[in-house]
């Protein structure tokens, strides 16, 4: 599968990563190369093998339903570029 500039522009927008047309050109080539490399996996015959989401033979670790975290709004807001009255403050987003 090859990548074109339009696809790169779309996914960079979806990922909120700004790209210039020149970068899109370069990235189309690079991403195309990565995909071509991964596509080698198509050579393996996986007929009758269930899709795999994990390679470890382990069950999902679970926890008990107890409150053991939170309670420190100050720490949570510490890295916020802007905050007020305990809230994160962001540019207006209205529908």
């Amino acid at each position: 599968m090859s990548f074109d500039k339009t696809t790169v522009a779309r996914i960079s927008r979806l990922a909120r990563i700004a790209t210039t047309p020149a970068e899109q050109e370069r990235l189309a080539g690079e991403l195309g190369g990565i995909l071509a490399w991964v596509e080698q996996l198509d050579e393996v015959d996986v007929a009758g093998v269930a899709p795999m989401t994990s390679v470890v033979e382990m069950n999902l670790k679970a926890r008990e339903d107890v409150v053991s975290d939170g309670g420190d709004a100050e720490a949570i807001l510490k890295n916020a570029p802007s905050s007020a009255h305990g809230f994160f403050v962001v540019p207006k987003v209205v529908e």
């Binding site: 999902l60 926890r63 008990e64 420190d72 540019p91």
Partner: protein, 484 residues
Amino acid sequence: MASTIEGATGTWEYVIGLEVHAQIVSKSKLFSGASTEFGSEPNSQVSTIDAGMPGMLPVINMTCIEQAVKTGLAIEGTVNRYSVFDRKNYFYPDLPQGYQISQFKQPIVSEGRLVIEMEDGSEKVIGIERLHVEQDAGKSLHDQDPGHSYVDLNRSGVGLMEIVSKPDLRSPEEAAAYVRKLRSILRYVGTCDGNMQEGSMRVDANVSMRRPGEAYGTRCEIKNLNSVRFMSRALEYEALRQVDILEAGGTVAQETRLFDVGRGETRSMRSKEEAHDYRYFPDPDLLPLRLEQELINAVAASMPELPDAKRHRFMAEFGLSPYDASVLVAEKENADFYEAVAEGRDKKLAANWMISELFGLLNKAGKEIGESPVSADALGELLDLISDDTISGRTAKEVFAEMFETGKAAGQIVEEKGLRQVTDTGAIEAVIDEVMARETQKVAEYRSGKDKLFGFFVGQVMKASGGKANPKMVNEVLKKKLDG
């Protein structure tokens, strides 16, 4: 029932499917140990996982999973012993991770069903496509500051069940009945509190219009409806909008819309248009979820009697009408109260008193059954006084109003006010003689064939006895005296 709309060019039919987001009742969040309590100080219930800090790993809360299994069994779904958590990627300020952990291809529950009852007593089975578990997002406040939005992450990461119906609903009334029934079931099994005002249950409605019997049209999705009434209004508005477009020869654009409560109309949410490419993929932080059959069996064994079963039992064993049974079982607290009142007493009498008297006064006072000033035992005592002829049904209503007002026991009120019914034949005869002596003219009319006057005499006798004469005995004795 308005399941169709008459347009200028003919009849159109609704096709509605609902996605209900139900917050799971649990102490801590789906993947973190922060509290789920509603209404706390902003950002006071946020772990570094909920805030999307780099390097944090989610760990599943098993209680949330058991709650989802319980709900799945309650909607008669298939609980899948193998399910997978995926990342649903999109950007929004109240989603700090940049993705929501959800389930896409392999949900925890598939293929359920739910029976709705319409006002005319008819029933309809509505298919449920799936139930999956996911994280809730934070909350944005837009009215605090003219140029900024405020974000509170307390809700971020709270466990949600998304319950997706099949497009089986054919009118806003059916959609409303579905939401009410689902809410009732969730509250019975205790997996969601169903509080729509606080947002613990929210509905997205998919609606399209078609000519009856033809293929589905293009649908629109109306997001975030937080009351049954608003949902019905949004569906009605959206149906007319789509019919107008279709009849003018246009095509409906598939899009996400928002219901503006103030204006009573839906409008396009442009911001969502590009966001539809969610690029789902299995979350590499989480292994697949495997459930032991023993766990599913244990959850099934802990299941309470569900509203449908209770309703049928009330009809079959107690002889209640479908309407009365539906009203009584809708909320588990009401059904429990009713059963306590009805135990060892006349079932229909108990149902009538609950529905017309108790619910009437509770409504007027704006109270829930849990806050009722009259307990089930106290109401039972009042019904006993009616059944053993201590007081008449009419007097009982006065007594009940006072019980509701003062919290006093029925027997005490009856004694204090001397409301004990007169069942002594001699005393009743005396009152009747007195009335007949006064109304000689009417007695003559009655005896010459004006039967209708009988009611008048009953009224006069009851009045003369201060409402305390036993009405049944008054009827009997009066008939004998007038006819004799």
